[in-house]
Subunit: 346 residues, 2 copies
Amino acid sequence: MNLKELADALGLSQTTVSRALNGYPEVSEGTRARVLNAARSFNYRPSTGARNLATGRSMAMRHIVPLSARHDMMNVIFSEFMSGTGEVYAEHGYDMIVSFVPKDKELQAYRDAVARGSVDGFMIHGPTRDDPRLPLLAELGVPFVVHGRSTGYNVPYAWLDVNNRRAIERATTYLIGLGHRRIGLVNGPEHMDFALRRREGYLTALASAGITADDALMTAGDLTEPQGYNAAQRMLGLSNPPTAFVASAILPTLGIRRAVEGRKLEVGRDISVICYDDKVSTLPNGDTAEPMFTAARSSVRDAGRRCAEILIDCINNPHLPLRQELWEAELILGGSTAVAKKEPTR
Amino acid sequence: MNLKELADALGLSQTTVSRALNGYPEVSEGTRARVLNAARSFNYRPSTGARNLATGRSMAMRHIVPLSARHDMMNVIFSEFMSGTGEVYAEHGYDMIVSFVPKDKELQAYRDAVARGSVDGFMIHGPTRDDPRLPLLAELGVPFVVHGRSTGYNVPYAWLDVNNRRAIERATTYLIGLGHRRIGLVNGPEHMDFALRRREGYLTALASAGITADDALMTAGDLTEPQGYNAAQRMLGLSNPPTAFVASAILPTLGIRRAVEGRKLEVGRDISVICYDDKVSTLPNGDTAEPMFTAARSSVRDAGRRCAEILIDCINNPHLPLRQELWEAELILGGSTAVAKKEPTR
DNA sequence: CAAGGTCCTCAAAGCGCTTTGGGAAACAAC
DNA sequence: GTTGTTTCCCAAAGCGCTTTGAGGACCTTG
């Protein structure tokens, strides 16, 4: 059933039917109702292809994911974030297109999508320092929103970020307040902007307390459980081991706990741990009354929802100033932190 | 840059340029090369909307996800599976469209997508017993592939499933072989087909060994860490507690371990645990030499890849018989299982 | 040289929608 | 009765591609 057939069945012109369906005022309420009824009973939907062609809009947002990101922390966070964006897209009639492309074809994929006119906007995940996608998108002149920011790219663009620096600074400062002086950092991949900022926050807190940073207590990697385990194993084996850890995600935190318990120590008594928790509901810490881990928390799903709103807003109001939002993470007390038991020997 | 402009720039007709680009044989190799070169240098891409309209194909596969599935085990598994499908789609020039819809609008979403001609095929996730989507899709006459199967729907359809029943039967039988007689089952939501089959496997193994199933040792739920924790807490508190667990995913398994350790017991010594592990790389058990948990394993990403291939095959060869593949899970020995220490008192 | 094949190319007709630029009918005002 | 104003509706022109049906140019062959 296409528009022509529907119009014929109603004894109206295509124009009138189209206008009736799209809410234009030049149609009497009587005929509009008649048209809507008929459309419903025939289960008519306008062809997306034809509509794209006629309007020049695709009603689709594209998320381009380089395949190399598969094994990053991306998996879980991605799906949370994307389901947030997807909900909002759907509410506004947009489709979400997800493209997985080899890393070396990533930039071309943006060009292609624009050239094909198959997209109204892009959502950018996991920006790095000096992210090459941002200048490209600016050049292409297509709406986009970044989840995060890119240090080094200083032209204004729309973004939503969590104050990673402040969150980790507060977390670290809290540990210092509990008497910890040797604090291990288990960070995400430091080409990622969020990880860089977290590291800065960690260093700032140490510096403010007059503690010298120690390279042996800092590590960066993939934010998996084994990463946390391996890092904690190594650090706890030092002659001058840490009494606390700041971890960049819940999975390495579980690994840290495994390493701690493997040494017959206990998290929250012998060793303190704070993690940055992306609030993913299927993981521990989800809904218990007293959280297992003290954590800096923020909701990735909410961030996804808001990013989608911003993107839609960019499209609808292209001339408004670009939105930039910095969210603060909450610092939530849980059972994994305690006053330092003993000063490590100097 | 559109086809007309490209043709004008080359001094050729649109027909010839279109044919050259799409590999038709009626074009001399000389002009084809000329056309391809020009297209590349102008960064020309055919408009997807126009092409859809002209060909009647959308070059897109759609994954419709009901919002209620958000908090199921779906999150992590979904993203693994989808990245598998996405890779293959991309290799074959298909886009992946992901729609999140409220549960009560789910079926209508399939109808809509078909009516709009916005999709060439559907991928069906997480089938339930008597899944209403399958008869609908058959009625709509559009290609689809199911990841899993639906007990109760007996018309042939394309599917790929893991032999969940056999995997859990083998796991349970293995525990029985180690001398365990009281074995707890922490299963997924039992309206889901995969969970039903796993339960059957568990019951079959018990029955074969002449062990009477005990309702107090069976639980079904969301496959989160707290689910495992709560279930294990309850069962370990029974007067006649289990000495082993079979869990349906890695997250509840972590919860079980937490409960076990909370009682000053140890997994792999006092209590044995086998889990069904969907092989998600960011979780524990990912890459260590000796796996932490004994597990039945299969790769969701590979399943995604294969499902996508099957779907594309359905589209390209609509008259071939529908493909149905049953994969066996591997049973991998890890450190979480041991001979039962003592018979529970009868 | 005419007839019959090959190659290569093209004009034009859609695909199903939106949107422009009117225009008929009904009504009100003079 | 004529002239404006509304109100409602329509024919037709695209949007950018693919594909049909033909035809010109160039070889072969007899």
